[in-house]
Amino acid sequence: MSTPAKEVLVDVTAVNHFYGRGEARKQALYDNHLKVHRGEIVIMTGPSGSGKTTLLTLIGTLRAVQEGSIRIGGVELAGLPASEQVRMRRDIGFIFQAHNLLDALTARRNVRMAIELSGAPRSEYDRLADEALGSVGLSNRVTYKPRNLSVGQRQRVAIARALVNKPQIILADEPTAALDKDSGANVVSLLRNLADQRGAAVMIVTHDNRILSVADRIVNMIDGRVLSDIRVKETVAICALLRKCQVFINMSPSDLTDVAQKMSTESFADRAKIIRQGDVGDKFYVIAKGRARIIVDSATGTRTEATLSEGNFFGEVALLRDQPRNATVEAEGDVEAYTLSKPDFLAAVKAHKSFEEQLGAQLFHRS
């Protein structure tokens, strides 16, 4: 099946949201669906007014859900009483564009404002605060007030405050906007570590192209709708493999990305039948890892036609000619394959002349 199922921490289903009342009522979100898994960093992009911030504030329980459902770690936010909403926020780390530190308090006391909500013993407050500040490289600034810190340092204090209670969900709004390249990179790697090591789900609203590479997924929103939801890491990996395949060799990088984005990852155990001869063809396969045998049953008996390895593809004939599968493909050892559904495959063939030509050439070559 597709990527190993990870726990869904944020589950947005059919969410509509409106601002204003009566005549002035204006819809900001239209039927939004989004799942964020444990350990995932999702970057949300889109022009201002596209609804990404609205969606983020809904997930952060800073606004009440009007229509649809949002589940945070299994808790339904729709219809949650106000006091419970406030409690929910304690389990979410907020990083705001404006750091909004209390300017009367030292860095340590600012972080303590969040610790006070955690139920940690009072004697631990200072130690926890200093530890969090240490993790953002501010060990030697704990007694500084915000006005004596640089913009980047203030932002890091705010991040320490957001992370000190080890939240499972982190919502960040332009966390790098006010930062120079290096500070921005620091913040991003900090968030990456949180996702990787603590399994936190991180959602970042940003326009900063420099940090897109940290994302597992990039969600693009326009006019209150999720326009695309790209699994960046996976797409990059698929592209890297596809680029080595003969069949995709002449495809431009952007075309390749288009195809890769539509592909899913599937795993098969040893001797599993990936496709069966005579079945209706519904997918196109590229082997990402492992080997597979092509087995053909005919009047003369069963024989293994060929062995496929990493970078080889199969399953295209049934799709192109609208015929049943002409052979069985069986995994030889564990196999991981990228798959493309029939409509996506046919669309890609149609759209990319070079793909069609290459397919033709490869087919000719193979037979």
Binding site: T53, L56, T57, G60, L62, R63, S83, V86, R87, M88, R89, R90, F94, F96, Q97, A98, N100, L101, L102, D103, A104, L105, R109, M113, A114, E116, L117, R122, K145, R161, A162, D173, V205
Partner: protein, 379 residues
């Protein structure tokens, strides 16, 4: 614990800008001083106006039913008092008659109105210590006791000074201490014979009938008996009731009492506005920070108590400064006006309560803004 922690946060937020805090405290202190001043005048006038009532001795006092206060000069026939004297339980009675006339300044001859208290030299029934030794001397023609807490306009007076009250030549045989009020510049005590000579129309009449109850007799029982016998002719009061009546009359009816009472309200209103301005600015500057406090999961009541504590700190700090300034001002006013300006504990407490009240009121007004902030706007 929670309260102290938050108190320290409220304090840190205020103390973060020392110059602004100082200015705010001065603003609150100003309102406190205004309230102290108004209250001081109000009480000074009331106390001073009622000062004569404060020196009345005896156990019971009988007055004409229409005499609502001590400056109305309504008198009753001396025969009534003799009737009262015969009532069982009444040990002795003494007449006090009051009036007003002009005192001539012995140095420059200028004339000022003084309050004249005519007493029975044998048994004056006034709580004036000087009368103990000098009472009998008041029988001499034109002998008076003069008030030494008067304003300087009345001249330098000591025992032996000769001057005039109205057209009557008088000789000061001693001094006592009472003090002026808004109606009179000073007070003079004289024997009844001298008083009737000065004011012949009062001859044989009584302003205040001072009574002493026989030892072992219940004052209430005697009072009831007098009430029964003299119903419609006289009213019986205790000295404390006369004082209370006098103070209440000044507060309620004399325009000065009302004016300064209003002044106190105005001071409170000014203070509330000043406090509101201070807190409003304080809150406005911190709005995004307050929103952040909400966003990270603090309940709205956390902010409510934060703002309340800020306002309490302001009121307490401002009050202490205002109290010091008020005390200094009272001393100054007492010296310059000779009015009684006492900074008593109940009065200081009243201003403290008013100050806290105005800061809390301002705090609640400013709070609306705090609770209107939407943490969602932070994104």
């Amino acid at each position: 614990m929670w309260f102290i922690r938050q108190f320290s946060l409220a304090w840190r937020m205020l103390a973060d800008r020392p110059a602004r805090l100082a200015l705010s405290l001065v603003g609150v202190a100003f309102a406190v001083v205004v309230m102290f001043t108004e209250l001081g005048f109000k009480n000074g006038i009331t106390d001073s106006s009622a000062n004569f009532a404060g020196i009345l001795g005896g156990d019971l006092i009988v007055v004409h039913p229409r005499q609502m206060h001590l400056k109305s000069y309504v008198t009753f026939p001396g025969a009534y008092l003799r009737e009262v004297e015969d009532i069982p339980g009444v040990a002795s009675a003494s007449i006090i008659c009051t009036g007003a006339d002009y005192w001539s300044n012995p140095q420059d001859g200028s004339r000022n109105r003084v309050f004249i208290i005519g007493v029975d030299p044998d048994d004056p029934m006034l709580t004036v210590p000087e009368l103990k030794g000098l009472g009998r001397d008041l029988r001499g023609e034109g002998t008076v006791l003069f008030d030494d807490r008067v304003r300087p306009e009345l001249g330098r007076v000591s025992a032996g000074t000769r001057s005039r009250v109205g057209r009557m030549p008088v000789r000061v045989i001693g001094l006592f201490s009472l003090g002026p009020n808004f109606a009179y510049e000073g007070n003079v005590i004289m024997g009844l014979d001298n008083f009737y000579q000065l004011s012949p129309k009062n001859r044989g009449r009584v302003g205040l009938g001072m009574l002493r109850v026989a030892p072992g007799q219940s004052i209430a029982a005697v009072r009831a008996r007098i009430n029964e016998r003299m119903a419609g002719k006289l009213v019986v009061l205790t000295p404390a009731e006369v004082l209370g009546r006098e103070r209440k009359y000044t507060t309620d009816h004399a325009p000065v009492g009302i004016i300064f009472g209003l002044g106190l309200l105005v001071g409170f209103a000014i203070g509330t506005v000043v406090c509101y301005q201070i807190l409003f600015n304080e809150v406005s500057d911190h709005l995004p920070q307050f929103a952040m406090i909400k966003a990270i999961g603090h309940f709205p009541r956390y902010l409510t108590s934060l703002v309340i504590q800020e306002s309490l700190i302001l009121s307490l700090g401002g009050y202490l400064i205002g109290l010091a300034a008020g005390a200094a001002l009272y001393g100054l006013l007492q010296r310059s006006t000779a009015l009684q300006m006492d900074l008593t504990a109940p009065r200081a407490t009243l201003v403290l309560v008013l100050t806290s009240g105005m800061c809390l009121l301002a705090g609640f007004l400013a709070m609306k803004k705090v609770h209107a902030t939407d943490p969602a706007d932070l994104f």
